[in-house]
Symmetry: C2
Subunit: 420 residues, 2 copies
């Protein structure tokens, strides 16, 4: 008795596997996913599976909602769109049973996975593990619907687009799982977009912080929230391809767990940037604060900010970037408060792209910025704005130079070869 | 205060409206349903809506299950197919809100509607009315998912095909609603199939018992279980068209509530009949019992039975009908026990049809059977088997005479004109 408990504790790993929409796009692919789950199960591991809706289904459901009413009720929206994942869990549990793997499905409310009441973008409060544990202890594979939960009033909630990654990490955290494998249609995290740079390299490992910067700066491999959660609860995350036989993927983990750290791990770019310049703002204390207060009140997220001092010290230009979708909103807020801010002109520009260099090695290595600017200027690329953090440098450049800049930086930092 | 309660009790009716799959087939039809609900709501009535899945959706989901595994797990099947209704409730609640009718959706588990554990064909145990009442008392229209419930283990269950009618009647019974209106794609219950008989007449009223016979004898307007339930709890049921502006429909109610009873209310026919004859069975006590015991053990439902006495009193022929889908099963059971039963030959025939005459008036009127057989023989139609109940006479005839027989009977009993 004691021996078997000991064995279980020692040898059995608890693994959460998450499969995205393209991996479960149709019954055949769902059967394929079942064989991957069986492989892990047959190793003697405890496996929990988290799935998305079959690809295309969520879009169809959202379209139905829009057809009913463009300003649809968000609680009813959640009721409608959460069905996509519910279909997948039932089908995958069936598929597992049919190949001899005991399994049962769990909707968000069956677990329950409790969230706040923010319909369509709910945040997870707690995950009850009792029923999942009971399954695992009995050799049953629970198949959990991603993206969904239940609020304290018993209404169905969803976590927002890409929320299934977050569900998977949260379940892994709640179960203190040894690993959370995110199966997707790419085979890992790359040094940069492989469609842009042919010799982009798959990273074996990347830190949570780097991944967070990458996710928020344009790499679409993982949802930002899922990485935040993984970092908070120290969940060993892996991104790997569901279409390969023996995928390696990329491990996302703590900096301390990576023995051979690379200086620069990746280059991202984002076209979702618009630049606004307020010309000849009075150079008085509190004017910048006023501008950014107004934008914050309008829920507009300001990213890069640059302020140039005027020669005569009487007026100044303020330049900043906002997401392209917020450009019109920002312009109308600023126009409404022209008197108050006291600028002479507004210039806006959507033809710009943000290119970022990311790497925890920046903390300990010098000369990164210099090397970056040199590489860009060698190609005749003008840097409009710069912003930095401890582990990233972002520059705003003209849209047309995006590919050139990414390739130049990839080459300059020799990212095609592992740098330690 | 007392006055308002008094008013509410006196003037406000509680109405359950059920809309089937074709009525909610797409977002536009769902909006159309919303206007029908609003009409009832604007009369000052308390309205509960029960809906099916958008037509085609359930079939698609069932197909997915079959694609995964022909012998799919029934609990997972319920998890998958119950999503169809969940989509409709969300969309209809949205549509109601968008035209100013406060509304919220309820899945089976949110009510909760408790069932037994018989996955894919569960039976309703209880329906909690607290949340529904709370909505109604606050002027909110609850939109309830038909066809589904939850068992005591928290698993989703479904009630079997056509179960949404049953859900609607059960909700009406639980709320002691004044009326349960079943909106469908036909405008009521007809004296016979209007596709067969041009002057078939819509009935204004029909008794529960007649409707039960009609439903089980081939008329597909309502599910048998829903009629049984309505009869048990005395729910005022109405079948009406969701595609007409001011539909009248057919009321299904207690015999006592119908002032002017018709003698014959309808003629049904069913092609789902196969006839089996066991030739020269030993004419000994217990042989028939043996035959029907064997078939019952194999879950085969025997309908009409006829036994002809032999001339020499040593052997007899036994003829009976089974549903067409059970014919092969029945034949193999009988072949396996040939020795035991002791017949010389089996003859089977799928080319037969059961035509039934239904009417509570049979209880008090004589000469119905004579008139029926006369009408058939006048057309040269040979009656193979007869079965009767208090309110119906069924005959088995050759398939090719089906239309002729139905038309002849409809004319003979002058069902195109109301008979009192």
């Amino acid at each position: 008795m004691y021996f078997s408990v000991f064995l279980k504790d020692k040898l059995m790993a608890c693994v959460v596997q998450k499969f995205g929409g393209t991996s479960v796009a149709d019954p055949n692919r769902i059967k394929n996913v079942a064989t991957k789950v069986k492989k892990e199960y047959d190793r003697g591991n405890q496996v929990v599976v988290v799935v998305s809706a079959m690809s295309g289904v969520t879009n169809q459901l959202v379209q139905y909602c829009k057809d009913i009413d463009e300003n649809y009720n968000l609680q009813e929206y959640d009721t409608v769109v959460s069905t996509g994942e519910q279909v997948t869990i039932g089908l995958l549990a069936m598929a597992l049973q049919s190949i001899g793997v005991p399994s049962r499905s769990f909707t968000g409310w069956q677990i329950p996975l409790l969230t706040d009441q923010a319909a369509s973008k709910a945040r997870i409060h707690t995950i009850e593990t009792e029923k999942l544990r009971e399954c695992l202890d009995n050799g049953i594979v629970p198949v959990v619907a991603g993206f969904q939960g239940i609020d304290e009033n018993g209404r169905i909630t969803t976590l927002g687009r890409g929320g299934s990654d977050t569900s998977a990490v949260a379940v892994a955290a709640a179960l203190k799982a040894d690993r959370c494998d995110i199966y997707t249609d790419v085979d890992g995290v790359y040094t940069t977009d492989p469609r842009l740079v042919k010799n982009a390299r798959r990273l074996d490992q990347v830190t949570y912080e780097e991944m967070l910067e990458m996710a928020s700066l344009g790499a679409k491999v993982l949802q930002t929230r899922s990485v935040e959660l993984a970092m908070k609860y120290q969940v060993n995350l892996r991104v790997l391809s569901s279409f390969e036989e023996n995928p390696i993927g990329t491990i996302i983990c703590d900096e301390e767990s990576i023995v051979e750290k690379e200086v620069i791990s990746g280059i991202t770019y984002s076209r979702d940037e618009s630049k606004i310049t307020l010309v000849a703002v009075k150079d008085e204390p509190g004017i910048s604060a006023c501008v950014f207060d107004l934008l914050a009140e309008a829920n507009i997220c300001v990213d890069m900010i640059i302020q140039t001092e005027s020669v005569n010290r009487k007026s100044t230009d303020i330049t900043f970037t906002v997401p392209e979708s917020d450009l019109n909103g920002a312009l109308s807020v600023l126009a409404k408060h022209k008197e108050e801010i006291g600028y002479t002109d507004i210039i806006s520009d959507s033809n710009c792209v943000k290119v970022s260099l990311i790497g925890v090695g920046m903390r300990t290595h010098t000369g990164i910025a210099r090397k970056m600017f040199r590489a860009l200027s060698d190609k005749g690329i003008n840097v409009q704005t710069i912003s930095t953090s401890e582990i990233k440098i972002s520059v705003l450049i003209a849209d047309e130079y995006a590919e050139l800049a990414v390739r130049a930086l990839h080459a300059a930092f020799e990212l095609d070869v592992k740098q330690v």
